[in-house]
């Protein structure tokens, strides 16, 4: 286990290096640059702007400068946001996405696991068909439909919750609708995976043994079956949590959340190279980190897995 972990941890910087290098060159060679505007900038002035951000240097030099800054954890200035560095943008906006994401993960897990496990145990029951139908809808209907609909019903018609805005950790009221909107498709995926996992486990010999011992349904399901049923859910959760925590452009726009998901997309649209690098690195680190966590969790959930 120790050696396996060590090997995985050593892989992390290599994976990240490949990621940032690929992103760096993909961004630079995409047509259009950060200073291409609908109002053409005078070539002399454009040269001044490029010089200010080192874009006038040869590509290998730019890449070298970027790596050197990256080693010192300096992601550089944003080209678009003239008063903030990328570090500051991430520091300012990642928390909102993380707070929203945490709530969404909890909601997705509670709803998804609850519905999935019950549906699996009561296969072909009304609850099974009902919850899986809801899950299909949750997967099929995009957030840009669900979000405005929730805002319309609970914000405008019923007036229970604010339709948009963000007031930090304390403004829980502001987070209810966006967290649900963000959580729904994930809850649906989790429900389907948990049900499938449960169905696979429930007919295994060791579960039959548990029944045969005369254990109650509660004990059989929660202590014996659930662990096995969690496996597919956990492997899905690795990338999913990374994705939820780094925000969603759509949910942020609908509910006016000052999150990092927007920066991700806008950065690419604006060819804000440094901002794109920063958000890609953030997402990369989270993704690699959670996948590592999943691998470790696997060992606890499935005693058959041996790390060699």
């Amino acid at each position: 286990m120790g050696r396996y972990l060590l090997r995985r941890v050593i892989q992390v910087p290599i994976v990240l290096w490949i990621l940032v290098t690929a992103t760096f060159f993909l961004m630079r060679y995409t047509p259009g640059g950060p200073f291409d505007m609908d109002k053409q900038v005078d070539p002399a002035v454009k040269a001044q702007m490029e010089a200010k951000y080192n874009l006038d240097k040869p590509m290998p030099v730019q890449y070298g400068l970027f790596l050197w800054d990256l080693v010192r954890l300096d992601l550089g200035p944003s080209f678009k946001n003239k008063t903030m560095t990328v570090n500051e943008i991430i520091a300012a906006k990642a928390p909102a996405s993380a707070v929203l994401g945490l709530y969404a993960v909890v909601i997705a897990l509670v709803l998804g696991l609850g519905a999935g496990v019950v549906a699996g145990v009561r296969q072909n029951s009304v609850f099974d068909y009902g919850s899986m139908t809801v899950a299909m809808v949750g997967l099929a209907v995009p957030t840009f439909v669900v979000g405005p609909l929730l805002a319309l019903v609970f914000g405008i018609y019923l007036g229970w919750l604010p339709v948009a805005g963000y007031e930090g950790m304390d403004g829980l009221r502001y987070l209810v609708l966006p967290a649900f909107t963000l959580a729904l498709p994930f809850a649906a995926r989790i429900a389907r995976l948990a049900r499938a996992g449960m169905l696979e486990v429930i007919h295994q010999d060791y579960i039959r043994t548990a029944w045969a011992k005369g254990l109650s349904e509660q004990v059989v399901v929660l202590r014996h079956a659930l662990r096995g049923a969690m496996l597919p859910v956990v492997s899905f959760l690795g990338p999913a949590v990374a994705q939820i925590l780094t925000g969603s452009l759509v949910v942020e726009q609908i509910f006016g959340i000052p999150g990092i998901g927007r920066e991700f997309v806008q950065g690419a649209t604006n060819r804000d190279y440094t901002l794109v690098m920063g958000t890609v690195i953030l997402f990369g680190v989270l993704l690699v980190g959670f996948n590592l966590l999943v691998d470790i969790l696997y060992g606890f959930l499935d005693p058959r897995i041996r790390y060699a």
Partner: protein, 548 residues
């Protein structure tokens, strides 16, 4: 206040505030009684985007410009209704008869930290705009000033290949401050809209000591020092920017709002929901899908805007190197259908390029005429569209552009028998393709920078960076140059009109389609926002009325 009548006549044919008693016009624009004093003077509006900066000399966008108008004031300001230049930090000015020397007399005013604001501040600020290391994208707003362009481009290659610009020499730039409260500006050549530029954010003063101390971060609320009617007090990225009244503003007694909150919502649906809940007082756009619903609201407003929607031809390649083909395509679009059935917000169908302006009359352009179009196309060798090559219309990916383009292409198919396919590109890819003439027909738009037809017309001179059609016409270039040298406003307008005639009636390197509108929702309780073609609404004229 003594306005120099000759100078102003030269400078602007637009309506001017009556030069009667000092500041009378201001009082007239204000509230009739004191009822407003009983309600909270807080104005919340959706600014449509997170501001990139509050630095007036670096900013380029409309949302930033709005906030600059709150915190900074230049030599002159804009009359909220007519947009004519009104005294700002300069309480009066004179212009030499040749239109070349502007002398501004500055009032006694101060920065928000109490330091006096002098002519030296303008010198230092304008120098900052022109310094290459500032890399100010809008530095060209100062190019009418003598020596400014050469100073800004010091050492760079000249575009015509005639060598390099001379090395930096600040003393050759035509700005002087003979005393603390006088600023003398000498222009390279007469510039009819120079006063309008003086109200533009690029020419606003910045507190150089603060800029030098804090670098790029000087505009943060904890550092910023400004000279406008309001001062930023809180900036939560992508959440809101809050401004409080600046008690040290020279005309603070006139300012009625105590607090302004600018929200950054890009999604108009979100802003609309907040408006419905009474959380915001003004949004300067409406959700595209809800235009019919919004039009029925009493809070809805719509006004022509200083922008033109058009299509560019790449005139360097067949079939659009043939002017008859270009004219045929322009003649065969019924623009009414587009504005009435597709856009629906009140956009003005246009066969001319310059939006309506006081003191300028656009030519009529080529009105919809199917028969004439078919005849021209036949003359060009494509009777009933037979043998017309495959062409493609490029637009940047957006639903509204797609709908308009589909309609135009359909009209061409029905009227001329030609088939034009559509291609959409992501914004920056589209910009890149248009700039390098990698297109045949392309959707385009232009929003004017200053209140003068020249901001629309000079873009099509030979080799102009924004021409992007490959079109070159010696007579057109000569007319634009002639207008630039002309000091008589009437004659100048006539010359510019000839140029526009060439553009939209004879040569057609572009097809004008419609004039933009500004549409939005404004709560009943807000007063002091006046309709004007540039949708400029300076905050010092706005107040909140009590509602029953």
């Amino acid at each position: 206040m003594r306005l120099a009548p000759l100078a102003l006549l030269l400078a602007l044919a637009a309506a001017l505030p009556a030069p009667a008693g000092a500041e009378d016009w201001k009082a007239e624009l204000g509230p009739e009684d004191d009822a407003w004093k009983k309600v909270e003077q807080t104005f919340v509006f959706n600014n449509g985007a997170e501001p990139e900066t509050l630095d007036p000399q670096i900013m380029t966008g409309v949302p930033e410009h709005r906030l600059a108008m709150a915190c900074f004031e230049g030599l002159v300001g804009h009359h909220p209704e007519t947009l004519a230049p009104v005294p700002g930090i300069a309480e009066r000015w004179t212009v030499s008869p040749d239109g070349l020397v502007y002398t501004f007399h500055l009032r006694r005013s101060q920065w928000s930290d109490g330091t006096p604001l002098t002519a030296k501040d303008f010198l230092a600020s304008w120098r900052r705009v022109l310094e290459p290391k500032t890399a100010a994208q809008y530095a060209y707003q100062l190019y009418p000033v003598k020596g400014a362009e050469a100073f800004n481009k010091q050492g760079a290659d000249k575009p015509d290949g005639s060598g390099k610009y001379p090395p930096a020499d600040w003393s050759s730039v035509g700005v002087r401050a003979p005393d603390e409260h006088t600023l003398v500006v000498t222009l390279e050549r007469p510039c009819a809209y120079f006063l309008d530029l003086c109200a533009f954010e690029t020419l606003m003063p910045v507190p150089m000591a603060v800029v030098e101390q804090h670098g790029d971060r000087w505009t943060r609320p904890e550092h910023i020092v400004c000279n406008g009617p309001f001062k930023p007090v809180e900036w939560l990225p992508n959440q809101r920017v809050t401004f409080a009244k600046n008690p040290r503003y020279w005309d603070a007694g006139y300012v009625k709002l105590e607090k302004i909150v600018a929200l950054p919502y890009e999604d108009m649906e979100t802003a609309y929901k907040l408006f419905q809940q009474g959380k915001i007082d003004w949004m300067d756009d409406v959700p595209a899908a809800k235009i019919d619903e919004c039009k029925r609201l009493p809070e809805f407003y719509v006004a022509p805007y200083f922008g033109s929607y058009f299509y560019r031809f790449n005139v360097t390649k067949p079939p659009f190197d043939d002017v008859r083909v270009r004219r045929a395509l322009a003649l065969s679009i019924d623009r009414e259908v587009i504005t009435r059935d597709i856009l629906k917000a009140g956009q003005v169908p246009a066969t001319h390029f310059v939006p309506p302006l006081p003191g300028y009359q656009s030519p009529r352009g080529l009105a919809y005429d199917r028969a004439a179009a078919r005849k021209l196309l036949a003359e060009a060798g494509y009777p009933d569209g037979k043998g017309f090559p495959k062409v493609e219309l490029l637009y940047n990916t957006l639903e509204a552009h797609k709908l308009v383009a589909e309609n135009v292409v359909q009209q061409w198919r029905e009227n001329l028998g030609i088939t034009v396919s559509l291609r959409n590109s992501e914004w920056k890819v589209y910009l890149n393709d248009v700039q390098h003439l990698q297109y045949q027909l392309a959707r385009a738009a232009w929003i004017g920078d200053y209140l003068d037809p020249n901001t629309f017309l000079d873009m099509f001179v030979t080799g102009g960076g924004n021409n992007q059609t490959g079109w070159s016409n010696a007579r057109y270039d000569a007319l634009i140059a002639q207008a630039a040298a002309e000091v008589d406003a009437k004659k100048r307008a006539a010359v510019l009109r000839q140029a526009e005639e060439l553009l939209v009636e004879q040569e057609l390197p572009i097809i004008p389609v419609y004039i933009y509108v500004k549409k939005g929702l404004l709560a009943d309780k807000v007063a002091g926002i006046h309709e004007n073609v540039r949708a400029l609404h300076p905050f010092q004229y706005i107040w909140i009325e009590p509602t029953d």
